[in-house]
């Protein structure tokens, strides 16, 4: 039982990172219909930004702050202006292909231009272990989970409680009516891209101490975040949270009790079962098709 609880809680920590990445993915999809196949690399790049900034002598705190700014400019603004805007009118497929190309370029650009070796990364949370009734928690897992949860909840509060957030939701639901109501649609869409970049940078901060900064670290992360988003429900931003935690926990439990070799297939299995029985996702509402 203690084993089970331990696996469960460390699964929650991993799952909360999936949830962060999945949330950004869901927001991009809702606001602009962009499926970003470079989402995993959007976590990898900030990790390397931080590694470089730390290498130049900055403290982790400043390195992270600066990385957020850089991410918003490069992964938010530049990505939108340079790639999504010119391709938007051609439909989904060219964007899918271009983001696939982008992920290949980013991964291998870092490999060739920086290093193919995994780069060490400082611990964000103190290296302490708690013992509660025989179940041990590491401060890293607890801190990761709490920090990611706070970010997800803050993002949701921003979307639901502020005028800007509600305007962004209006754009996601119906772009034309939003623009008739005087909402600055392009700006709201840019905000979505910016939030996605911030969430990705935060995920990088949380995931890199355990997984190390490596050029291909985004590969599994991106796919699992997609699955998490769909499992939870694409149309609901809370879906990303539920999906992320579900995937993280199931993966950990399956690796321990079923087969460690097939850990990476767990997300796919849940995804297939969910779309077979509840295609709109666990929390999603059924969407009418637009003609």
């Amino acid at each position: 039982m203690t084993d089970f609880l331990q696996l469960f809680f460390s699964g929650l920590a991993t799952g909360s990172i999936y949830a962060l990445v999945a949330l950004g993915f869901t927001l991009l999809w809702q606001a602009s219909g962009t499926i970003n196949f470079a989402q995993g690399e959007f976590v990898m790049l900030p990790a390397f930004m931080m590694v470089m900034l730390l290498g130049s002598g900055l403290s982790l705190y400043f390195a992270f702050a600066l990385t957020i700014v850089l991410s918003v400019v490069i992964l938010g603004w530049l990505f939108k202006r340079g790639l999504v805007d010119p391709l938007f009118k051609y439909g989904m497929m060219p964007i899918v292909v271009a983001t696939i190309g982008l992920s290949i370029a980013m991964r291998n650009g870092v490999r060739a231009g920086y290093s193919a070796e995994p780069q060490p990364f400082p611990q964000v949370f103190p290296d302490v272990i708690f013992d509660v009734m025989g179940v041990t928690f590491s401060a890293g897992d607890v801190g990761t989970f709490v920090f990611a949860m706070v970010l997800v909840l803050v993002t949701q509060a921003f979307l639901n409680k502020t005028v800007t957030g509600r305007a962004m939701q209006a754009v996601a639901q119906n772009t034309e009516s939003a623009s008739v109501l005087g909402i600055n649609v392009p700006r709201m869409i840019f905000y979505t891209f910016a939030i996605n970049a911030i969430l990705a940078a935060a995920a990088a901060l949380l995931v890199t101490p355990t997984y190390l900064a490596k050029f291909d670290m985004g590969e599994g992360l991106g796919t699992k975040a997609f699955f998490a988003a769909i499992i939870g429900g694409f149309t609901n931003s809370r879906g990303a949270l539920v999906g992320g935690l579900l995937v993280g926990v199931s993966e950990n439990l399956a690796a321990a009790y079923i087969s460690a070799a097939y850990k990476d297939a767990v997300a796919l299995v849940i995804f297939m079962v969910v779309i077979l029985f509840k295609p709109q996702g666990l929390l999603g509402k059924k969407e009418e098709r637009k003609v």
Binding site: L83, Y90, G101, I104, A112, A265, L268, I275
Partner: protein, 326 residues
């Protein structure tokens, strides 16, 4: 346009029959690889280009075909039994995978196939008793038929060429039939196709499963060609390469895969100068190509035609305008 296509196809065919005679082993190997990828991407072109589904797990079916044939040959069974079994197996797996994914949204198929590719790769790597694990399967035999041995590289090349032509003609026939028209109709407007009485779900599912069969046959031929297979050949990365071959050639153009596979097989050779930066250059080239030509290389003639027509139309308008003034 039709005549031009036919002429191009005939010239290309003549070149494919004659040229390898003058090539050394490496050249024959490149040509055979090209043909294998033409078969695989023809299937993917049916799924992606004609039926409009996004499949990012084509290398998984390619792998199923390759491993099925290799395992059959290792068990002492005939290649001519292994290849149809591989094709049938791919068809069934394609149906099983496509059924849940295609019930929802087209983009779900992309994720389902992507995840399936990863899962299958894990099977290839972990189930050593069947697949040889990371060591793969080596010394895969080449087939013979009715006393003709395809052991030599050139002989095997002609066998693959024969398969390519037959499969291309089958696809051509399929696309010209009412069935094929239904595929295109549902790509262009799924809701309209549905209201015309086309059962979109079973057609998309079939297009996906038939695409998988082409990949399986190509994989089986590939296993005998290279005589050594391991899981590294069938990763998600390989699937993405095949998808890009279709997109670069021009999805929905019958000869798109011929061009796309040539680019995909030859490009790594061209880009050798870039060394470590090769894949970076490749990825960046894909992004630039998409922004410049979202419909692929074979859309260039159509684009020129459209531009000429619009220029002619505006000239006509200008002339008409003058006529009114005068």
């Amino acid at each position: 346009m039709k005549k031009l296509n036919l002429l191009f196809a005939l010239v290309a065919l003549a070149a494919l029959v004659v040229v390898p005679n003058f090539l050394k082993n490496y050249g024959i190997h490149m040509f055979t690889t090209w043909l294998v990828f033409i078969i695989a991407t023809m299937g993917l072109n049916l799924t992606v280009g004609y039926a409009g589904q996004k499949s990012l797990g084509h290398a998984a079916f390619f792998g199923i075909g390759a491993y099925t044939v290799a395992i059959f040959l290792k068990a002492g069974l005939s290649f001519w039994l292994g290849l149809p079994v591989a094709a049938l197996f791919c068809f069934v797996v394609g149906l099983a995978l496509g059924f849940p994914a295609l019930r929802v949204q087209t983009i779900y198929l992309a994720f389902a196939t992507l995840g399936f590719n990863t899962a299958l790769w894990l099977v290839m790597r972990n189930e050593e008793w069947l697949t040889g694990g990371t060591f793969g399967i080596n010394n895969i035999a080449r087939p013979s038929l009715g006393g003709i041995s395809f052991d030599g590289n050139l002989a095997y090349y002609y066998l693959v060429l024969g398969f390519t032509i037959v499969l291309a003609l089958l696809l051509w026939g399929l696309l010209r039939s009412p069935w094929g028209k239904a595929f295109t109709a549902l790509r262009d407007n799924a809701i309209r196709a549905e209201s015309l009485g086309i059962d979109t779900r079973s057609y998309t599912l079939l297009s996906f499963a038939i695409g998988a069969v082409y990949a399986g046959v190509a994989g089986g031929l590939y296993a005998s060609q290279v005589q050594f297979i391991d899981p590294a050949l069938f990763t998600v990365g390989a699937s993405i390469m095949m998808y890009l071959m279709v997109v670069v050639g021009g999805p929905g153009y019958f000869l798109g895969p011929v061009l796309g596979s040539a680019v995909g097989v030859v490009l790594p050779e061209w880009l050798r100068f870039a060394q470590a930066w090769y894949l970076f250059v490749f990825g960046a080239a894909v992004v630039v190509l998409m922004i410049w030509l979202p419909d692929g290389l074979l859309s260039i003639p159509d684009r020129i035609k459209a531009r000429r027509q619009s220029r002619a139309a505006s000239a006509a308008r200008a002339a008409a305008g003058k006529g009114v003034k005068a």
